[in-house]
Chain length 103, copies 7
Amino acid sequence: MSVSTKLKNIVPLLDRVLVQRIKPEQKTSAGIYIPEKAQEAPNQGNVIAVGKGLLDKDGKHIPNQVSVGDKIILPPYGGIPVKVSHEEYLLFRDSEILAKVVE
Amino acid sequence: MSVSTKLKNIVPLLDRVLVQRIKPEQKTSAGIYIPEKAQEAPNQGNVIAVGKGLLDKDGKHIPNQVSVGDKIILPPYGGIPVKVSHEEYLLFRDSEILAKVVE
Amino acid sequence: MSVSTKLKNIVPLLDRVLVQRIKPEQKTSAGIYIPEKAQEAPNQGNVIAVGKGLLDKDGKHIPNQVSVGDKIILPPYGGIPVKVSHEEYLLFRDSEILAKVVE
Amino acid sequence: MSVSTKLKNIVPLLDRVLVQRIKPEQKTSAGIYIPEKAQEAPNQGNVIAVGKGLLDKDGKHIPNQVSVGDKIILPPYGGIPVKVSHEEYLLFRDSEILAKVVE
Amino acid sequence: MSVSTKLKNIVPLLDRVLVQRIKPEQKTSAGIYIPEKAQEAPNQGNVIAVGKGLLDKDGKHIPNQVSVGDKIILPPYGGIPVKVSHEEYLLFRDSEILAKVVE
Amino acid sequence: MSVSTKLKNIVPLLDRVLVQRIKPEQKTSAGIYIPEKAQEAPNQGNVIAVGKGLLDKDGKHIPNQVSVGDKIILPPYGGIPVKVSHEEYLLFRDSEILAKVVE
Amino acid sequence: MSVSTKLKNIVPLLDRVLVQRIKPEQKTSAGIYIPEKAQEAPNQGNVIAVGKGLLDKDGKHIPNQVSVGDKIILPPYGGIPVKVSHEEYLLFRDSEILAKVVE
């Protein structure tokens, strides 16, 4: 991505969702370092931007299941890497996202 | 999964179902240890959480076949592993689940 | 399957059908032993339980072709093995079942 | 197939068709033996039993193209072998059958 | 095909079309022998018989694009060989046929 | 193709389009020979004949996107070769054609 | 492409989109050379021309998601190369394009 492109400029198309992976927690809430092996696989992420959704047979958009700001559970594979200002983001299809984590 | 995520926070999307496998019984009802080889494969599970179901052509959710609390028979393969608070759960598609075990 | 699950507790989902294979006849009607090689492949079975059927586009169940108690002809392959009280059963899709044997 | 099952008991399901292959003619009409190599591949058969046909979107059966007693041309491959009273029959899908031979 | 089956007895089913390949011309119109290598690949044929066509969603036949007597251009591959009275014919699907050659 | 078949006799079926590739220009407009390596891949062509188009669900033809005389951009692969009077033509599906070149 | 074809003559068909990749920035905004390895993969592009869109079931065009002049994010793979006046362009399907970059 050219250095000038900012995150907010990126508008995913159709059912695509721009996600940033949440880095696994290095320490427990009590501050104890979690050995890498025990760190839970980083399969959670935050939704940064969403497309308008796929088109139904009448050409209307079917809204995506997730929205900006949602905390989500990602599949172990998939996602197209997109670099923006040297940060790595991922583009998933809405239907690939497994679940939401609602606080 | 970050340590802070609790099971109840997890909302599967569309036709996904969060399941926990029932561990095979180690002892018979009379208390006799069942050798591992004779233990029945653990292909039963409990439904922890369900999505709203797939969308039909008009964008309405088609309710899933299983509901929270159901005891079910799982296919021998498949299911995406998801760790929550160091416990292993599995995400299946509603249509992958073979049968219910109704008491 | 946990020892406590009984056959009648099992409710197949959607278009699945729980079947028990009919063991090939060891002896002719005149009581003569049939050598294993000459025994007809055991591709018949009895229907133990059926699901409500697949969903049509309006979310209504399309009844399965076979019902409980039917004697059926099974395809040479397929079927998911399910053990109940140490007996082996098979789960087929309704559309995989080849024919009924009506007395 | 258990010895007791008779041909007339077999009811194919949906679009399946029970067929018996016509054995190739060993002799010409003038009684001359046809060498095996010159015998035409036995890709003709007789229809023994037919299912009610596939279901359309409203759950109604779409009648099959062939009926009991039809003489048909079979594809070179396919067909599920089914033994009844030690005779070999084949189950085809209606749409696999190439043509009818009308006298 | 049994020797007794005549061409006119064969009724293709659904969208199938019975075709006979046109043998490549050995000589130019001026009578000069065309070396095999220069002979144009025999991908033309004559339509001998046609089925009623595929079924639409209401179970009505959609007429095929070609009719008996049409001269057609065949794809380089495909077609199921069918021998009738020692002559070789081919069964194609209507949609496999590339073009008509209209005089 | 038999020597007698003329181009105008060929009527593509359904969504097929008969195309002749435009040979790459050997010389620049200033008359300078273009070395083979620098010659642009010949992926342009002229539309010679078009079918009536695919059938929609009601059996009506959906007109093709290109028409006779159009100059088009061809995909790098595909197309069924058809020889007519020793000239090579190609049959593409309408949906395989990438773009038109409108003067 | 023949030297005479100009960019404006090219009309993509259906859901195809003609794109030119944006070359990665060699220098930072402060004028410092970015080593090749650190240059962001050139997965951005400009939309040069768009087709009328795919056809819906009634034969009407469904407008594409992107329009001429849009800045877009391209998938890491795919796209059919098309040379016009010695410049390289790419033809993508509208649904392959990941996102827009709106200024």
